[in-house]
Symmetry: C2
Subunit: 398 residues, 2 copies
Amino acid sequence: MSFDMTALFRPDLPAAGGRWGGYPEYSFVGGHNDGDNVPFGGLSEAAVSVLRREGSSLASYNVGGSPQGYAPLREFIAGSLESRASTPTDPEDVLVVSGSLQALDLVNGVLLESGDTVIVEMATYGGMIARLQRLGVEVVGVHLDDDGIRSDHLGELLSDMAARGVKPKYIYTIPTVQNPTGSVMPVERRLEVLALAREHGVAIFEDDCYADLVFDGSRPPTFRALDDGGGQVVYCGSFSKSIAPALRVGYLVADWAVLGQMMALKNDAGTGAIEQMVLAEYASSHFDDHVRQLASVLEGKCRAMTDAVTASFGDAASFTMPKGGIFVWVTFAEGVNTGRLAKPALEAGVEFNPGAGWSADREWGRRRLRLCFGHPSVETIRQGVGVLADVFRDQGVI
Amino acid sequence: MSFDMTALFRPDLPAAGGRWGGYPEYSFVGGHNDGDNVPFGGLSEAAVSVLRREGSSLASYNVGGSPQGYAPLREFIAGSLESRASTPTDPEDVLVVSGSLQALDLVNGVLLESGDTVIVEMATYGGMIARLQRLGVEVVGVHLDDDGIRSDHLGELLSDMAARGVKPKYIYTIPTVQNPTGSVMPVERRLEVLALAREHGVAIFEDDCYADLVFDGSRPPTFRALDDGGGQVVYCGSFSKSIAPALRVGYLVADWAVLGQMMALKNDAGTGAIEQMVLAEYASSHFDDHVRQLASVLEGKCRAMTDAVTASFGDAASFTMPKGGIFVWVTFAEGVNTGRLAKPALEAGVEFNPGAGWSADREWGRRRLRLCFGHPSVETIRQGVGVLADVFRDQGVI
């Protein structure tokens, strides 16, 4: 008789998923990227050269070096933060992680307990909201405008919380190519947010995962660079969006007091060394050119997506033009519930992210949705958005 | 003034580590492998061929496939389990993970709560003991002989626990090339352990991470293969020992009811794809030959290590000859405390694993230690063991 191991499961597990069923015809979800712009030729040359030179060092965990990550990769990251984002960085303040999701887990692991409060942007990365909720953390949304966090609203929130004796642990912000709105926060706004946070003793968790994909190539200085007093910002970035998401290499930048504590929680015996070595070898000579080319392709796809939304939905949909990245955030009339449309859309072959899952306040997000355009071709984008609009019409929503 | 983020830390964190300080002259710890036998030429050829063929699929998470892992790698793992360990396996029952440490975390995440009990081998992998203790799990050691778990003692333990109303969740075993003893459990013993566990409704967690490194190449069938009724065993393996530890690719094999639930906890957006692709490409044509060659080199190093221990320590040290792997488990006289010798040894340039950390019962392990021989050269092994014996003599222990 078969043994029933499920009878031994702990009782509070999240729902198990089903078998993976493949992608629908028009997949507008997920951080996938443009297939024609994965620099696999360069990556493969890099693999040959770095493995020939240093392959035997794979015999040791962390290729015989620091568990902070492969030194040449940390040096590239530090140099790139300085040259691309005006953020002078010591490679000793960099921790390479197994994708930026591990960065989220490490920051949360060090700072958060059940019952804590965190401020996030009203529309933000759904995976972060889900993580915070699983930890039993109170998630409070701060309103956004086209320049990101509205500092007037942030001030109100912080004062209200202080009056109630609540001190949030950190403000989670995606300031450059905000997910999902695609906005870029100007320097002045960053300085206001930093000052308010400092006044209230709140840390900043700056998620810069999409920042390399600004369409016009101009990246403002990071919060971490603008943090004059120092110590207030923990920063994370990733190669998933700039090189390829199937690689799992991200990074954290923080002062040692924070980084050393996060390392005590990173008990995975290091991040995959071949990916680190290949990335370091490739990126040190090709990164800027590659990202320039990729951003220009994505800008074209962004235009195709926004044009298709305008053509197919007309006045029923509104959005702010993204300044970079791989997604657009679309808002419909009061009363629309995009969550209810996910199933009929999928049946018609279209997948999108309903806004509730990408919003600190599900009710606020209900009439919104996120459309990703990095992976599908321009033709797939046009057709798929047309099909989606048909579903909206069939359902009597527009 | 600098912002003090440490004031926001949650209160129950493990101690933060210091900066990495490099390896000592004679490093006999860690799962490092032989530097001359990393097949980096083959890995680099594999990288070129697989990236040229499928590189653009890196643009999607999980290279556009199932989050269970790169399909050709799961097929290789399944085929290899059948041909090398008499374990017919469906690739759909394989989950590729980011190193076997993630496998431990996923199994524990699904099965364990604080207050649960787990049975481990009296001498076992230190990283597992540390994980179980952090989870607040009661760790009970079952005695070993040269054939692994003593089923008479296991029977006693299970009956005593049943009488006290305690039902352990699982038995954690490393049956083939046991860590740290290097023993291989014969089939009859496996069947006895399985039967006892089934009688008491206890699952088996089979960790086969070192199993490819049996010196004589003969691997018994796994617990998973011997589990006639089915459903009782969750199995994990790794490429860290057979290919290179700096790669972070391991795997879990379990029935879907268990695997699907573990996948709901694996929220890392997949395991690094380049490492999976390169491994699959390389291993499918070179794995058996490579492992045969590697095991023969390791057997030589094992002989060097055990000869050195005998030459330098004489009757003061005893050990059972490992049947495979990269470590030997050495026992000293009653009253010796190897933990106290770690510091003077390190000052003399020698690092070893004190036995207490590798034992379910720290007191039992105190007079034992683990010496790893995969990475150092034969000459380094000889010299280092000599230096270690000098330290033992200087400290009046032998």
